[in-house]
Symmetry: C2
Subunit: 328 residues, 2 copies
């Protein structure tokens, strides 16, 4: 066999992977991101009405931060979606522990324990953003074929809005998002939607993405071969803050109207970034063209982030199919 | 003189009104409506840099709810923009009084006292809404010629977004909004903008409206005659709540995609109102066609309001000019 043919054969060969036990669908990790809150409540209503058989695979539904949901706030004491690193999950709990640290450890026991063999196969954590990001799937690894195949599937099936994949690509123990507790999975961001508001159009897109994820897992477990190919992903590079008053730290400018709502565009040196409150334009000074995202996300003002920047690259994923007694 | 001619003469005659002492521009009455917060801060920066002469009339700037602004929340204890009725303003203050009741009484002493001769001539209270309401001027009286003339002026001058006038038309003593403290004035609503976010496009529109208000007062005080004519206004009729679960009171539906973002359209019997979280459409059952506004406003979920309904009517305002020694 020539080298070329061997490579071709290698490309075509399926990677055999274990069947997936099911999925945990989590909403309200941030209590004021309402599409996920109402979707989880709707799924729980469906289960009550029609029993577990409503889905073809085991589905766990979780309202992640019930106290924040009740108060319609992002969080009570601290951002829970920064509490799922190994370090925070192993912090001893005391009377003064933030509510979200306690709740994160509870969720880790329910869905994990992170890093152990018993963790959930997949978490799909539902979020909204005030940014015009369409449907964005965020996850931690550039080599998790199951997750990347689901992303690819959603990209093929959802046509109403752009579906993009964002890879953070840092060690899983340092990963601080809820979905990092499970073997596979992703954060599902849908926007634009204001905090404390549910928009039917955004809710419908989120529901379609969750239904398709369940659909993919069912098909995979049933033996469907998912063909490999290229997946275009965005990789986080750096964050950019708003211009601020050096003394008060108050913002002195807003995102420029020419950048607002243009998440994932190609931002080049000289392009407008900010419009100051007195009317001056601040332009981009980056040497390399990059893709901005989470542009003017409401929750990031306090984090000192006006937007993130990403680089686009292409991942090649192999074909995958479920491991059976014969294939194992 | 015939009756017709007398009527004609009456129409043409100017109403002479006292010069206006200035305007109070208030932002952050709701702490997470950021355009007004940043506009007031910018005006204060300009005054610091260039002195009081920066405006041709006396301008007072007020950050109405500084604690809520600091926490980026609508309010701390209670909605302050419901605290300016005579009843709440005269409630005795105790240790357990809500922060906003105390602050409303402070503001009433600063800008009022409501109902007395010493009140500010005009308050312009800056707000944002998550609804697609463009620029909406809200005020209490259908016969306040000064305010209606400023509305008319803004309608003529601002072309980027629709400028609409909403009249609540109930007794001034019961009126609970901050602007009701002054002789004239209005609440200036600009949207759509998420809570906790400032969008440059929305900020620029709000700034233009405030600049034009100052401009109108200056021209009026300088003797300009403002010609009378018709002003189209919307009058509040009733509120409509979301469909809710009878037990939990949770929402069971969101505003329908065909209604979302269509504030001030004409809503007729049979038009879609809501889309339930399981996919069913709820339609309008009103006998009379009406105009919905504040559609899906984030702050109104807790108030049990999915949208308000209004009726459109036309007000005829007379020409106005400033009272001088000669004319008085």
């Amino acid at each position: 066999m020539t080298e070329e043919k061997a490579e071709e054969k290698n490309k075509m060969a399926s990677v055999f992977l274990p069947a997936l036990g099911g999925v945990a669908v989590c909403g309200g990790t941030h209590g004021n991101e309402l599409s996920g809150v109402y979707l989880v409540q709707e799924m729980e209503r469906q289960r009550k009405e029609r029993g577990d058989g409503v889905w073809p695979i085991p589905v766990t539904t979780v309202l992640s931060n019930p106290r924040a949901v009740k108060e319609c706030r992002r969080y009570i004491d601290t951002d829970m979606n920064r509490c799922f690193s190994k370090a925070v999950l192993s912090t001893p709990i005391t009377d003064s522990s933030p509510y979200e640290v306690r709740r994160a450890q509870e969720l880790n026991n329910l869905l994990g324990v992170k890093g152990s063999d018993d963790v959930m196969d997949m978490i799909c954590d539902l979020h909204n953003t005030t940014s015009n990001m369409g449907l964005t799937l965020i996850h931690y690894s550039a080599s998790d074929w199951v997750t990347l195949h689901i992303c690819k599937y959603l990209q093929t099936k959802i046509t109403k809005v752009p579906v993009r994949v964002l890879v953070l690509d840092f060690p899983i123990n340092d990963a601080y998002n809820l979905e990092s507790v499970s073997k596979h999975g992703f954060t599902l961001e849908v926007g634009p939607q204001p905090q404390g508001v549910v928009r039917a159009d955004i809710y419908v897109i989120m529901k379609e993405a969750v239904d398709l994820t369940i659909d993919w897992i069912h098909k995979f477990n049933s033996g469907t071969v998912f063909e490999g190919g290229d997946v275009e992903v965005f990789k986080f590079i750096k964050s950019v803050d708003y211009p601020r008053d050096p003394e008060t730290r108050n913002l002195t400018a807003a995102v420029h109207p020419q950048l607002q709502d243009r998440d994932f565009c190609l931002l080049k040196r000289g392009d407008p970034l900010f419009l100051s409150f007195s009317g001056e334009t601040v332009t981009c000074e980056e040497e390399e063209p990059l893709h901005p995202f989470f542009i003017n996300e409401g929750a990031y003002y306090e984090k000192g982030i006006a937007f993130h920047l990403a680089k686009k690259w292409t991942l090649t994923v192999p074909s995958v199919q479920v491991q059976t007694t014969n294939s194992a």
